[in-house]
Symmetry: C2
Subunit: 401 residues, 2 copies
């Protein structure tokens, strides 16, 4: 259970030990922090990243440390998380980026287009929260299988490429009756296995094409191989897996992909069970926020005025309000947004100024989006540990001295 | 002379050889491109930068290649230009960033404040064009002394720190009669020389404090030593030199600094002469734009639809319009802005879609700001080669095949 207030007596929330706070996910944070004591090295394909800002879970799952998030809106590429369902293709595919080709199906005039051709068809730039469907899984006491991400399987990234709608229009428009936009990744599939069982192919509602890009640039540079270069499908507001790396086919389809990653993967299954096609798919992101400073791993905080800062986003809707609590959710005050507003798909930085005397405090943040959705206190329990937006789980306990 | 149209017959502009285009600065571009054939290595203190995107003029002057600018608004730190008036201090000053101290003078209660203390006083985030006063000097046919920058002594950077106005207010406010905000850099001065002759100390009008920051973060990470960390004075809208690195003193003063870099450096002097205090100081930036793609160094362009992209900014005012010409300035069309608007001090990306047959074309861009200032055709000739905003100088000749 994630219920931080209500189930636990208030006094425990303010002075509680790690044991009493286990239900709030704070013990999980301690456990994970401890696990960082012997860090794994960065794999070679991301050796250009800043190791000190990252937690290496495995060769294909690397998380940004909570203390590494700053207040400058954009997440630098060298500390952006990595989550690859399959190993990245050989680096030879980024040797001649403009030669990479994507086949477009489900339009009146299907065609294979190179990046060179796509670059003549239009240019758009979109800032967007890229977040793994399982970000926050590490706060589930049920320990679902999968990477125990805390907050760092997310970043705010700027993408540049051609709008999918421009490409579709140039090819005569989408064929009638197509309900989905289906992207297929260009990963090399291991031989001898059923391709459908391992390929990365995801479908999103065709309506998502309106803001989607076929992108060749990330944060001002050609998309690194590790992040899907030379060409990545960008679907703003949708979880990371829907943003297909090394995209080799973009199809407008009448049905969802029958690849296993779509039919059984990323489903909201009952706790303890696996996904199947009858369950809701993990797709659109919803309103979420968390505090990045102060946090326990940044050390103790001096009594007096404290600037509590964090990030907030709405998924498909702009974030419009963030409230901050210094008493574990008993009382809340409205935080101030700072910095540039990079559009509804980006996150915003919030700041809440508090006067804190010596003691221990549970700091929490709660965001509201333009559709009046409020970040929930409790996570939705599910077998895969997806979509954790619980403000209680993301609360932090800090010591003020 | 920079006058591209008018002085030169139109037919020469469209089919001109490098010789006939010398007056337009295009020969200069060729000359500089040639000089890049044997690149200098990156100095050790910026070895973390992406060498392939940079032109190393000297150990303290490093430029971003025109072809390295993308369309994602922010300039990544690893390809941002370097221009240091003095060598960077020892890296030991970033070992304990929060311990760095700045003395604030000219307020009712002068004090020395550590970065740790500043972080409790407020947080703001500002995106801003950082541009060397001499950016574009390479296009002056008079070859003024100083680095022959083309377009790459500029970038759009996000800074995070405490607003100077919050610091001043916390210290009782600025003392009456103070007309300037004067920052002093923390560089180590060589012994045996008059400090005033070499120190980095600059004054800007006190009005500039309203949007100024004492910043500790750049593009989402602690400010690198090479860019002025642990603490840099950020004065949005003012040229690079006014954004004091390793700031050790911030003083509100009744007079401008008498350091030589202020009294004689960065002055608009008559061509062929050096600066003195009687001449205007190089301070506020003014409206400017340039095309980053296509350019000659990106190779030939395929006939057909071409996306002409670039950046535009207004200095102290937001940029509101960009026009693009494909015939050397004879005719113009209005470009479209793309991507997030990060505020009036940031640059914006523009895109102009043109249909170009085979041939040679002179591509130019011309920006207008919110105060209706229009980017001029001609540079203002001056001895130091400062403030080159000429659209003719920034035009590029491309071959469409």
């Amino acid at each position: 259970m994630s219920k931080l207030s209500g189930l636990l007596p208030r006094r425990h929330l303010l002075v509680g030990s790690a044991a009493t706070l286990a239900g709030a996910g704070l013990a999980t944070v301690s456990r994970l922090a401890h696990a960082q004591a012997a860090p794994k090295p960065l794999p070679a394909y991301v050796s250009w990243k800043e190791a000190s800002n990252l937690i290496v879970h495995s060769g294909t799952t690397i998380e940004t440390k909570r203390a590494a998030f700053g207040t400058s809106v954009i997440t630098p590429s060298d500390q952006l998380y990595i989550r690859n369902n399959l190993p990245a293709p050989d680096a030879s595919i980024v040797a001649d980026r403009d030669a990479w080709a994507v086949t477009v199906e489900g339009v009146k005039s299907p065609r294979t287009l190179t990046v060179r051709e796509l670059k003549t068809m239009g240019v758009e730039t979109t800032a967007m929260v890229l977040q793994c469907s399982g970000n926050g899984r590490g706060f589930f006491p049920s320990k679902p299988s999968g990477t125990p991400w805390q907050v760092g399987a997310a970043g705010c990234v700027v993408w540049s490429g051609v709008p999918v709608r421009d490409v579709a229009e140039a090819l005569g428009g989408v064929v009638g009756g197509m309900k989905f936009m289906t992207g297929t990744g260009g990963e090399v599939l291991p031989a001898g296995l059923d391709p459908k069982a391992i390929m990365v192919e995801r479908s999103v509602p065709v309506s998502a094409m309106s803001d989607a890009l076929l992108a060749w640039e990330m944060n001002g540079q050609p998309i690194p191989l590790a992040h899907g270069g030379p060409l990545r499908l960008i679907v703003p507001g949708y979880t990371g897996v829907n943003n297909i790396k090394y995209i080799k086919q973009l199809a407008f389809t009448s049905k969802e992909s029958d690849a296993q990653i779509m039919s059984h993967g990323y489903r909201i299954a009952p706790p303890g069970s696996k996904g199947d096609p009858s369950q809701p798919s993990v797709q659109e992101m919803t309103v979420k926020s968390w505090i990045n400073s102060p946090t326990p791993d940044r050390g103790s905080v001096a009594a007096g005025t404290v600037q509590i800062v964090g990030v907030a986003f709405g998924g498909l809707h702009a974030v419009t309000k963030v409230e901050v609590s210094t008493d574990g959710g008993k009382t809340w005050g409205v935080a101030r947004f700072v910095g540039p507003d990079m559009g509804k798909y980006a996150w915003r930085q919030f700041v809440f100024t508090a006067k804190l005397p010596a003691g221990e405090f549970i700091l929490a943040s709660r965001a509201t989006d333009a559709d009046k959705n409020v970040q929930p206190e409790m996570r939705l329990e599910n077998g895969g540990g997806y979509n954790n937006t619980s403000w209680a789980d993301h609360a932090v306990k800090v010591t003020v001295a």
